[in-house]
């Protein structure tokens, strides 16, 4: 979805882009079990995020997603400004 929004990629191109960035296959990035592990390991955020103290969700996850995908996420950029990080 973020690649469609930021780079106007059609779905096939967007999936390939994300798969390449994560070092996965198209089928793997569409698989909930594989992606749950990847998301947890890399801090991209999960729907079910127990245990809470170790989980990433929301802004902290978006920082990581922006970096891995090589895109600007507006809320991350505004957060950095407000927090004095840029």
């Amino acid at each position: 979805m973020r690649m469609q929004m930021t780079k106007k990629m059609r779905i096939k191109e967007a999936k390939q882009y994300v798969a390449d960035k994560l070092g996965l296959t198209i089928e793997e990035i569409c698989d909930v079990v594989t992606m749950a592990d990847v998301r947890e390991e890399r801090g991209f955020g999960l729907a079910n995020f127990e245990p809470y103290a170790e989980s990433n969700i929301g802004m902290e996850a978006k920082f990581r997603i922006a970096e891995v995908l090589g895109i600007k996420i507006n809320s991350v950029e505004r957060f950095k400004e407000r927090a004095g990080l840029k």
Partner: protein, 352 residues
């Protein structure tokens, strides 16, 4: 000879109807022909029509696509649906979290109950506060959404003479001038709201149900999109349509030299691209008096043509009463899942 086997399917209003193979195939063919004729676009191939027949008649209440063919979702007034439609009184930022973590949405938009930019303008900073709360606690992209809804700028609610009153009185020039004036008001309001949302980090602006008041309404969306992308290039714009066909309430309005009145989705998407939008929300109307086979064949003909010419992602609007979804409040999953499968496998759409 025994009676021919009949399959359960539905009318465009959602009511159940039983049809034989011959009846289903005949309606598919008629739906394709209607779209090809109206849109001046190629009909579906025999293989594609066979595939629609297979999807309509395949066993199972719910059907699906291969894992690798799944697509993403966007919405209109998504974050307000649980409150408005289900009457569960919760904040829209919490609505957004429920969409992300319970319903599995890929994005959602924060929108006011009175889902139009003219109304939002007066409370834009309050709306931005709701959006900011949602953005801080969700991971998926969050839009701010509303409709251009040009009709709201007419008297007695707005400052402009009502062209729907002027036209029957034969005041054609006055009606045209009123619509042109309304476009300027709407563009100003949309861009003002977009700026407030950008400031709190919106991932995108959703211009929803564009063209609802005709060609001037669509023009307002295109012009606003152009300005938003110029001022805030990192913020996405999704333009979703009101119907399959841009009504010529004005009749002479153009965007980049193209007359807007009468455009179908495959032409609409090219202008949406030119305006700088990231996603096009395509619509084909559901005919309540026709069968699902007729409706979905017609939808696929229009949207295959649209998807083939598009250089930006196309999200088919699959809400009540559009793109083959029946015109009823409680959408039947048998039809919804068949619509989605047809759109993904035949039209190669990028999202729903």
């Amino acid at each position: 000879m025994g009676e021919k086997k009949k399959y359960l399917t539905r009318m465009g209003d959602g009511s159940i109807v039983y049809m034989t193979e011959d009846e289903i195939r005949a309606d598919i063919r008629a739906g394709v022909a209607d779209a090809a004729d109206r849109g001046k676009i190629p009909p579906l191939t025999e293989e594609e029509m066979d595939h629609i027949y297979d999807i309509i008649t395949m066993p199972g209440g719910i059907v699906g696509v291969d894992l690798k063919d799944t697509v993403v979702t966007s919405s209109d007034s998504g974050s307000d649906k649980i409150s408005t439609k289900c009457c569960i009184p919760i904040d829209r930022s919490i609505n957004a979290m429920i969409h992300e973590r319970v319903l599995g949405a890929d994005s959602v938009d924060i929108g006011l109950e009175d889902y139009n930019y003219k109304t939002v303008k007066g409370v834009a900073k309050r709306e931005a506060a709701v959006l900011k709360r949602a953005l801080n606690y969700t991971t998926m992209p969050i839009f701010y959404g509303a409709m251009p809804n040009l009709g709201f700028y007419t008297k007695p609610d707005g400052p402009i003479d009502n062209w729907a009153v002027l036209l029957p009185e034969g005041k054609i020039k006055e009606a045209m001038a009123a619509q042109e004036e309304a476009v300027e008001h709407a563009v100003r309001d949309i861009v003002f709201v977009a700026e407030q949302m950008y400031d709190v980090g919106a991932d995108g602006i959703n211009l929803d149900t564009c063209g609802a008041a005709g060609d001037a309404d669509f023009l307002a969306a295109l012009k606003a999109c152009e300005i938003i992308k110029e001022r805030f290039p990192d913020m996405a714009v999704e333009i979703g349509m009101a119907g399959e066909f841009v009504l010529g309430m004005h009749g002479r309005l153009k965007y980049n030299g193209v007359r807007l009145a009468g455009l179908y989705p495959h032409d609409q998407v090219k202008l949406v691209e030119q305006a700088g939008a990231s996603i096009f929300g395509a619509v084909v109307n559901t005919n309540c008096n026709a069968t699902f086979p007729w409706n979905i064949a017609r939808v696929c003909t229009f949207l295959k043509a649209c998807s083939e010419v598009a250089n930006i992602p196309v999200h088919a609007n699959t809400g009540m009463g559009v793109c083959g979804i029946p015109m009823c409040e409680n959408s039947p999953a048998d039809i919804v899942s068949r619509v989605d499968k047809c759109l993904i496998e035949i039209c190669k759409i990028d999202g729903l």
